[in-house]
């Protein structure tokens, strides 16, 4: 039936005018429609992972990502005046936890926790997020170590809490087994110990690492050996 059309010029004028008028009225109406007023809202309690799973109708991975978008937009952009820095972080952690449960292989919740929510200037909130990353790390250390490594850096440089940074670094060193975990991440604890002035502990760890033969890269072995020498030099003289 298509292709057998009358030319546009054959259409009556009232139809052109009518269509243009209704289109103009619609666009005008949409432009004048009252916008949703932003309000100060905090996050609602998250639905349980089981409820999210039911609502996903078998599309858990897609639902997890849509839920992340919802969470991400739950501040000014979504008609809410509360910036994410002021949200209830315990509740935020619950949301992230349930989303992660829905799709444990997704890196999105941990990325958001470590790179967005933990980087707030509010120390209490940042610590809550870092602890969330730490807790979740143990579920799948070989996949989730980058976020804990970032958490260790935040603890060290932003919170100036070397003990906390060491705890995170220690977890990476002890629990990661995959061959693709870079050595800098596995050796992070040594450098934190150095910063803590725990020179003896750092020296023993570094010496043990070099003696174990796990370091195959000659440049890396040389670099670590130099660090060990520097540590030896900084040792207080034996009495």
């Amino acid at each position: 039936m298509r292709g057998e059309e009358r030319p546009l010029a054959a259409l009556p004028t009232w139809l052109w005018l009518g269509l243009a008028a209704v289109l103009a009225v619609h666009i005008g109406w949409r432009a004048l429609e009252p916008l949703a007023q932003p309000r100060e809202l905090d996050l609602p309690a998250p639905p349980s992972a089981a409820a999210l799973r039911v609502a996903s109708m078998g599309e858990a991975e897609a639902t997890a990502r849509v839920a992340m978008l919802y969470l991400q937009a739950f501040d000014y952009g979504a008609g809410n005046l509360t910036p994410y820095r002021k949200l209830d972080y315990r509740r935020l952690a619950e949301w992230l936890d349930h989303i992660l449960e829905l799709d444990p292989r997704s890196q999105y919740p941990l990325f958001a926790a470590a790179r967005v929510y933990a980087e707030t200037a509010d120390e209490t909130r940042a610590r809550l997020m870092l602890e969330f990353v730490y807790r979740e790390f143990f579920v799948d250390p070989d996949r989730r170590w980058p976020w804990l490594a970032h958490a260790a850096l935040l603890a060290k440089h932003r919170l100036q809490d070397l003990a906390l940074a060491r705890r995170y670094a220690q977890a990476i060193e002890q629990y990661t087994r995959a061959s693709d975990v870079p050595l800098w991440a596995k050796h992070m604890e040594i450098f934190i110990l150095e910063d803590m002035n725990e020179l003896e502990a750092a020296r023993i760890m570094l010496g043990g690492l070099l003696a174990s033969g796990t370091i195959r890269d000659p440049a890396e072995a040389r670099f670590l050996a130099d660090r060990l020498k520097a540590l030896e030099a900084r040792r207080p003289p034996a009495r």
Binding site: L15, V22, H26
Partner: protein, 253 residues
Amino acid sequence: MQAAIFIRLALIEARRGGLAWLAPLCIALGVALGVFLAQLAITESRLLQVAVVAALLRLSAVLMLAAQVVSSVRREADERRLELLLALPLGRATQYLGRLAGFVALGVVLAACFALPLLLWSPPAAVLAWAASLALELALVAAAALFFAMSLTQLVPALAATAGLYVLARSISAVQAIASGPLAEHSLAHELGRGTVSALAFLLPTLDRATRTEWLLYGPPDSRTLSVALAGMLIYTALLAMAGLFDFQRRAL
């Protein structure tokens, strides 16, 4: 008079096509589901019932009406009844708008039937606002389905286009909110995307503000909110009707 004939034809076709038993079945299933869920709830059982039943009935009504309109138009085209009608001494505008009036009337009947069981749990004023909004929402869906069925000429694309428009109209506000979130990067691609979403929003109705379950749960909306929602749908229905009529007038039969 001619419009009354089209309305009668649409209602008879719907009754003979199975809508007469499908609609009561939907209502019965919805109510049964509501009663079942109320047994499970430990609080707010009435609210749970009305929320689930209303959402289910709203979606069922939309799907049923869209399928009815598209299949009816396709059947007319396949059986060459459309050519027969065009040969009658009736203006094309009368035919198109008469057919649309028939489907709108069917939508009003469906909205009234589907609102009735909600009176079990919600106050009449709230149910009335919900029913009026559903009737106009169904009128909009009927206009969209008729437009797509006439212009796309195939069943599946017409149904998909109607469903797509409906889903987009119900979610465009949320999409806009997400697009303007502060965490999104400020790149050219993002600005372009946001502009496209805003432009698209201007061409769509805001169905997320219509037929809201919260009216049934927490009381009817104020008259301004209701009239804004109803007027928006009315204008968009008129726009779809004009667009459909424009396309129909171009047909060389």
